[in-house]
Amino acid sequence: MIPAAFDYVRSHSADEAFAELQKYGADARVLAGGQSLIPAMRFRLARPSVLVDINNLRDLSAVRVNDGTLHVGAITRDSDIERASWINERRWTLIHDVSCVVADPVVRQMGTLVGSLCHNDPAGDWPAAALAARAEVVVRGTSGTRKVPIDAFLVDSFSTAVAEGEMALEARFPVPDERTAGSYRKIERKVGDFATAGAAVQISLNADGTIRTAGIALTAAGPCAVRVDEAERALVGQKPGADLIRAAADAASKKSAPQADLRGSIPYKKSLAGVLVARGLRQAFERLGVNV
């Protein structure tokens, strides 16, 4: 269970890290939290010949809100998000929920949100949350820095819009308005196991109580996190209600395309996707003070 040998480069600035990644291309991997990469290397599922350690880049460790945006740096730990002073505000309930259930509490003290997005494991929690919250990822490439909307960022299982020699610098979440709440519901066999199924939900209401925006996405329901756009469209403009929740849940079950494994069959997981979206919506509405 010892990883294959590799060369280790500790970078002291984003410029330096980027230069190293440019130099080594496909042979190099960024080492941030390492909570997915290191186990993969130990199982020899990953054999990078160079690791570029970015853990010293303090500039990338921030989790802060400014200019209407939540910035989460490439080495911001999940536990930093879980402990942020503003995280208990209702508008951040989706992000807060996720920050409390990724892997286990010790792994969260090293693991990073941006790393989870870059790893893009179909069972990872952050990709679905990023879809529901309509995040974008700032990527440094040869032609400068670009912002990639999350839908375009998550390409396929373990594959993202970050090309060889590039690096993700931070994830950005638009600050939701006051009348926003979310929820993240997941079923796991035990703490730290891969999700059997998960659902991320974020809802903003208009002043008249109708739904202004809806974000709904699924974990472990396809090659990577899945946006349930049919459910989102069904919700917008409507008043929260039981029928609406049922319709969204049905759309989620239909959209879910999981793989059968020891955690459950395809019909079971498709059913769970609907159940978790319904629970998530009910909780988000409750958090908004709406009875359904």
Binding site: M1, I2, P3, A4, A5, F6, D7, Y8, R10, L31, G34, Q35, I38, P39, M41, R42, L51, D53, N55, S79, R83, A103, D104, P105, V106, V107, Q109, M110, V191, G192
Partner: protein
């Protein structure tokens, strides 16, 4: 690669391969075998140590080179001479272990937990220890041990201030 890691206040300067995991560095290069390797796959938490005072990390899922220049606390660094740390005393008094294999990881995870939250509820302790597996005791006495330690540490902090 040359690294300098301060473990329990003592600086260890060693030449290691980048692929050496921190758990094996502590055990084989520093001779500190109190840090246990259980599952070797970051599931069980037996290998947890505390980095830079308040962060619990699984030392089987971190390279020794990442600890270069950092402070590591292992189970060997908890007691003050013959006086056990309140967490160790809690495990002793409440029978928080049988075989003891998971205990170092439990102690260090709880240590970081109490640094961030000196007065956790029972639910918070259970949640905080949910990444650590014990196959003997069933957790009940481990939770009691942490509760006892939290109380003792709060009393000590109150006296000190």
């Amino acid at each position: 690669m040359k690294v300098s890691v301060t473990v329990n206040g003592t600086t260890f300067e060693r030449d290691v391969q980048p692929r050496k995991l921190l758990a094996y560095f502590l055990r084989d290069d520093c001779g500190l075998t109190g840090t246990h390797v259980g599952c070797d796959t970051s599931n069980c938490g037996c290998c947890v140590v505390v980095m830079d005072g308040d962060r619990a990390v699984k030392s089987c899922t971190m390279f020794a080179v990442q600890a270069d220049g950092h402070q590591i606390l292992t189970v060997e660094g908890l007691a003050d001479g013959a006086t056990l740390h309140p967490l160790q005393q809690g495990f002793w008094d409440q029978h928080g272990l049988q075989c003891g294999y998971c205990t170092p990881g439990m102690l260090l995870t709880a240590y970081a937990l109490l640094k961030h939250n000196p007065n956790p509820s029972e639910a918070m302790i259970r949640e905080g220890l949910s990444g650590n597996l014990c196959r003997c005791t069933g957790y009940q006495n481990i939770v009691k041990a942490v509760q006892q330690a939290a109380e003792k540490l709060r009393e000590a902090a109150a006296v000190a201030s």
